[in-house]
């Protein structure tokens, strides 16, 4: 079964995924909204930046983040200047890395959900007296509900599965930055296949269950589109 250190790794992983997902929903929602609405001609530039983690090897992303977060990097140096610690090899550093790493998995579903709503419901709300912020919260967000669900689960699951970025910027400090995927790697390296099985199998089932619930719920949420309605 699971050893104490495995359990700690599991808890750290879940905490990392939860914190990252919450942060990504908070910053990703306005970005996705802007991307879905804006007619700025260079919007594709931002979209490409956000999609980068999809194609970049995680180690590359991790390497640059390590440089940036380390004591000599701009962010790490900035932190040190104000009496803080460099962020590399800390849980905060892991969160920052995960936010970048999972960003497309949160922003893209939100962006396409906002895009799918179209202008009409918001125009209807405007003619019914709703201010832009009111329209966003009472029309756009509820109508984009399937997008929020997908974004949450994909962001969470993808963060759980991260390996390369964590290894580069978090190292492998048990109890602080050792996450599940790295614990598995460690077990395999020392031929502890039974522990590796437990962790891997657990992760497999967890991920599968999460995806099943997204697809099932999104089917239930699927909004009727009869007669050109919303």
């Amino acid at each position: 079964m699971l050893s104490d250190s495995d359990l700690t790794a599991l808890l750290i992983t879940l905490k990392l995924a939860a914190v990252t997902t919450v942060i990504l929903l908070l910053i990703g929602t306005p970005i996705a909204w802007w991307l879905a609405r804006s007619r700025w001609r260079y919007k594709f530039f931002i979209e490409a930046i956000i999609a980068l983690p999809l194609v970049l090897p995680p180690t590359v992303l991790g390497f640059y983040l390590l440089i940036a977060l380390g004591p000599n990097g701009p962010i790490g140096g900035f932190m040190q200047l104000f009496g803080g610690q460099p962020l590399a090899f800390t849980f905060t550093g892991l969160v920052i890395g995960s936010v970048f790493y999972s960003m497309p998995f949160v922003i893209q579903p939100l962006q396409s959900a906002f895009h799918a709503i179209g202008h009409r419901p918001l125009e209807v709300a405007a003619t019914l007296g709703a201010s832009p912020l009111d329209r966003f919260f009472t029309v756009a967000v509820p109508l984009a509900r399937p997008g929020f669900l997908t974004a949450t689960v994909l962001g969470f699951a993808h963060t759980i599965g991260e390996f390369g970025v964590v290894l580069m910027i978090g190292g492998n400090i048990p109890g602080q930055t050792q996450v599940l995927s790295i614990a598995i790697y460690d077990h395999v390296e020392v031929l502890e296949y039974s522990q590796a099985h437990w962790l891997s199998g657990g992760l497999l089932i967890l991920s599968f269950l999460m995806l099943i619930s997204v697809y099932a719920l999104n089917r239930r949420f699927a909004l009727p589109k009869i007669g050109g309605d919303l």
Partner: protein, 372 residues
């Protein structure tokens, strides 16, 4: 062109009390809307024209959904837009019914109806929600989800949702166009009752002459983004210089009131300033106002009053104006005691009867349709 519009503008000022005053110049990729309008503050004003003529753009601009820097809009004493002001749509007291019902699918029917109501000042309710629900006959639908409704029901709810905010102005963008014939017939009576019972001015975009004839009091005719003409419906329908008075469906609309019934032959008499129409019995109270539609091809002309004829509706008339209609026919605008009527006859008949403006004759109306 500008001169014509300006002349027209002056004429309208005389006719209407000019409470809605609009000047829009909106340039889009492949289209320019450039109009200057006075819109009467009562009744239904139809904005009519072919698709792509700018009807919807005009309506959206009035709602504040389209912006252009050089436009001007005054509704009553309030400036909604000028060079320094642009009131956003949510602050305009205007309700908009879109072509598709566009109900909020995340809200119930009741939630949809209350959405706007919650966002307007309380003391501003000329039409209560109950009144709107009642007018549109939707009380049995309130607790449904929006996906449990037929197309006609959806559109009725969209109209009630718009009315519930007690707008200063109701804008309707082809509210029937997305519906099949059966649903159209289902909604039409509700639209007519709106017309009869509400004091709110309505702008009704349409490209269906039938809807216009039934609902409108005034007509604004757009062509390629420009104002072609505007005025009272009965005049506009019979102006030979306008496209509405041509083609197979050209028809005059006549306002009449029920004068009485003939029980022996099952007939109803309808009086208008030019005389009396006799039609098959309609179950309407005496003095009830009705609209009649007389299609130009159902009107024939004789120089002497026929006595041995099956046609009951014969009126003395004067030829006001005539233009060729295709190669073989002529469209004639008649006046029956000042009330305009269209007649389409062959060019040969016109020549045999020696028709010319000012000539006195008799108009025989073969059939007449009751619109309301």
């Amino acid at each position: 062109m500008h001169l014509i519009v300006a002349l027209h503008y002056r004429k309208l000022v005389v006719i209407y009390n000019m409470t809605i005053d609009a000047r829009f110049k909106i340039i889009r990729d492949n289209f320019t809307l450039d109009v200057e309008l006075n819109i009467p503050d009562t009744g239904v004003t139809a904005i009519y024209g072919d698709s792509g003529c700018g009807k919807t753009t005009l309506l959206r601009a009035i709602a504040g959904l389209e912006y252009s820097p050089t436009s001007y809009l005054r509704v009553g004493h309030k400036i909604w837009q000028d060079s320094s002001t642009f009131i956003p749509p949510e602050k305009r007291s205007v309700a908009y019914v879109f072509q598709e019902a566009s109900l909020f699918s995340h809200l119930s029917v009741r939630g949809n109806l209350e959405y706007g109501l919650k966002r307007v000042p309380k003391n501003n309710s000329k039409v209560s929600l109950e009144r709107a629900i009642d007018l549109l006959g939707i009380s049995h639908l309130l607790d449904r989800n929006t996906d449990q409704l037929s197309g006609g029901e959806r559109q009725r709810i969209a109209i009630a949702r718009a009315l519930a905010i007690s707008p200063r102005l109701l804008l309707m963008d082809e509210p029937l166009a997305a519906l099949d014939l059966k649903r159209k017939h289902e909604i039409m009576p509700y639209l007519e009752s709106l017309h009869d019972e509400l004091k709110i001015p309505v702008l009704y975009v349409s490209h269906a002459p039938g809807e216009v004839a039934r609902l409108a009091d005034h007509l604004i005719l757009l062509e390629n983004g420009q104002l072609k003409a505007s005025g009272k419906l009965d005049q506009m329908l019979t102006r030979l210089d306008l496209p509405l008075a041509h083609g197979d469906k050209a028809a005059a609309v006549i306002h009449a009131t029920v004068a009485g019934h003939d029980t022996e032959f099952d007939l109803t008499y309808l009086d208008f300033p030019g005389g009396r129409f006799t039609v098959a019995h309609k179950d309407l109270k005496v003095n009830h106002p009705v609209r009649l539609r007389v299609i130009a091809r159902d009107v024939s002309l004789t120089l002497e009053q026929q006595s041995n004829t099956s046609i009951l509706n014969i009126f003395p008339a004067i030829v006001d104006e005539m233009t060729p209609e295709g190669k073989a026919q002529v469209m004639i605008r008649l006046l029956i005691n000042g009330i305009p009527l269209l007649a389409r006859i062959t060019r040969k008949s016109a020549s045999l009867l020696e028709l010319a403006p000012g000539k006195h004759l008799y108009a025989q109306v073969k059939s007449v349709a009751l619109l309301s």
